[in-house]
Symmetry: C2
Subunit: 363 residues, 2 copies
């Protein structure tokens, strides 16, 4: 069984396996939940970390540190992506020098031509993504469009190619398709380049990823030690993915029914939430009697990941479990929340269209 | 037997094999020797071509065309490299839009760390190479340093990665080492990017290479048809390599005794030519009687490749074959020629040092 297969955590990994994974791969359980009061910390969405200690030290003692995250999307951003942005905004508040990369070349390379046929399409998607990022509150200065990076960034990505052997690459990724290798070289530079003289210089860096992306994290940490630069080994935290709206499905912009897109209309939102998988029972009578199962409910999960009100979340959970509130009413609450959020977001994102175009096309 | 092995022409390929190679690989014999009066054309140093017809058409009918060549060197330039420059200068005279790339990242990636340990070394070498190129008469505007290319150049190199499969790459190069793949991606963009809007736009392009580099030429011609750009398929001409000074040895900057470097001192030149492999006989008597063998002589080859005087060349050949001139005298002629050439070159190249540093480091 390859390492890649052992860590493939798209929602299917049972929490009881973690201790074993931590032991085998050297991750540690994330226990610094008190580093922030934001609900994404309090609700334990971060599971594990590598070298978070130096980030905590930087935050507590107000030392320089940087965060780097990004998106290589083949389409519109959804609420799963919003979680990355929420973490990004919060680490920025905690003092991080910040870089959010919109990885248009990576998106083109790592997707089949049927999804992203050319860089023209990748850049159109990048414009949409930048509009969302700006509307979610990320500063223009913190957004880097990959296809417009400086030569030193690209040089570093090529330098990384000399620091991975064919066997290492296959061990990590299972194959060595040239396009996929190209995407990986860019990803390595995305994370390492923030420590270059052209960006923030040497400092601890933090990147949040899903557990299934740990092979990438290990690759970049290895390369950081081998490359001819004086870099601090990058730190990572691992968060739980928000699942898709259907039973057992990953959220994905390319199967739209599984995800609420940040560009969805009110009508789309209503339709998708009403069709979402819930913890409801066979009949209304049964549910009034024994209560719903919020633990498996995708509507509840949406509230848990995104609704900042602890009071509302507790109330929903309690009323669900007691059978006081049935799925119809609960879905309506969620739809109302999303309509409110997206109504505002929709207006904001449109206002950033020309800014986003300038950032992607340079004119 | 892989294609790579079939075409491995470092001096060992007998001219009688060419017809077979031409038939198998679709190259054509180069017959447009009258396109220029320069001695490198008249002396038949070009053997074969792919699609030279459209270049000839551009020259004859004064249409736009471009040439792209370059150097990815691990050390000082030698007289083998000078031949590339001679072709470059001549095609420039024939009307080519011209780009000479100093491929410092490629040099770092395609050489072991023992030769080029880091980009610092690669850039030091690049400075030395640029000094030589400027001293040989190439215009500053025609020299492009790879590590300082624009983002669109690097984007194109990554786009190329999606247009080669693992099997194609292995078929062409025999393996798929990530660093080597990185170097190939840069080489593809080196040749194709001249047709981008950022450089000369779509036009026929010509690149001169050794026969053994034909796998690269086929790769770039394939990719030019698959990539999402409107490119003319690049043309190539194939020239004979100047052999090293030792018997059967390739000229190489990393085994200095095989090559005269453009930075060699007069003393070095004298020593190397005096130790060169010649077509001399066992004894002076024998040589006076039956004459020398200029066809295998590395000193004669140096004259043939670089001395522009047809009269001097014919005289050397005739006097050698008749036994009138022995190797000592002939070597002295060659040393005198090289001392004259390099004396002037040495002064010029030093005068370009600060220009070269600016071009490589950007300051």
């Amino acid at each position: 069984m390859s390492e890649k297969n052992i860590i493939d955590a798209w929602g299917d990994l049972d929490i009881t396996d973690y201790d074993h994974l931590f032991k085998q791969f050297g991750m540690k359980k994330f226990e610094d939940l008190d580093i922030s009061n934001h609900h994404i910390f309090k609700r334990k969405l971060i599971i594990a970390h590598r070298d978070f200690d130096r980030i905590k030290d930087s935050i507590v003692n107000k030392k320089r540190f940087a965060q780097i995250t990004g998106i290589a999307s083949s389409g519109q951003m959804h609420f799963g992506h919003k979680l990355d942005v929420d973490f990004f905004m919060e680490f920025k508040k905690l003092g991080a020098l910040s870089k959010f990369i919109v990885a248009d070349i990576d998106a083109y390379l790592s997707r089949p031509d049927s999804k992203v046929p050319d860089m023209k399409k990748a850049k159109e998607v990048a414009v949409e993504n930048v509009m969302d990022l700006l509307a979610l509150g990320i500063s223009k200065d913190d957004i880097f469009v990959q296809s417009r990076m400086c030569p030193e960034y690209f040089q570093l990505s090529f330098e990384c190619s000399k620091k991975i052997t064919e066997n290492q690459f296959k061990g990590i990724y299972g194959h060595i398709n040239p396009g996929k290798l190209g995407a990986v070289l860019l990803q390595l530079s995305d994370i390492l380049f923030v420590q270059s003289d052209q960006v923030f210089g040497k400092c601890p860096t933090i990147t949040g990823i899903g557990l299934e992306q740990d092979p990438h994290a290990r690759a970049v940490r290895n390369v950081s030690k081998m490359i001819n630069y004086d870099f601090t080994v990058p730190s990572f935290f691992y968060f739980t993915h928000q699942a898709g709206l259907k039973e057992g499905k990953k959220m994905s912009a390319s199967t739209p029914d599984t995800a609420i897109l940040l560009s969805d209309s009110d009508k789309d939102v209503k339709k998708k939430i009403n069709r979402a998988f819930t913890g409801g029972r066979e009949t209304a009578e049964e549910q009034r009697e024994i209560g719903g199962n919020s633990a498996v409910c995708k509507v509840y999960e949406m509230q848990k990941f995104h609704n900042p009100s602890d009071a509302e979340l507790s109330e929903i959970d309690a009323k669900c479990k007691s059978g006081e509130m049935l799925c119809g009413e609960c879905k309506k609450k969620c739809i109302d929340y999303l309509h409110g959020f997206l109504g505002e977001h929709r207006t904001k994102r449109e206002s950033f269209k020309s800014d986003a175009e300038k950032m992607v096309y340079g004119k």
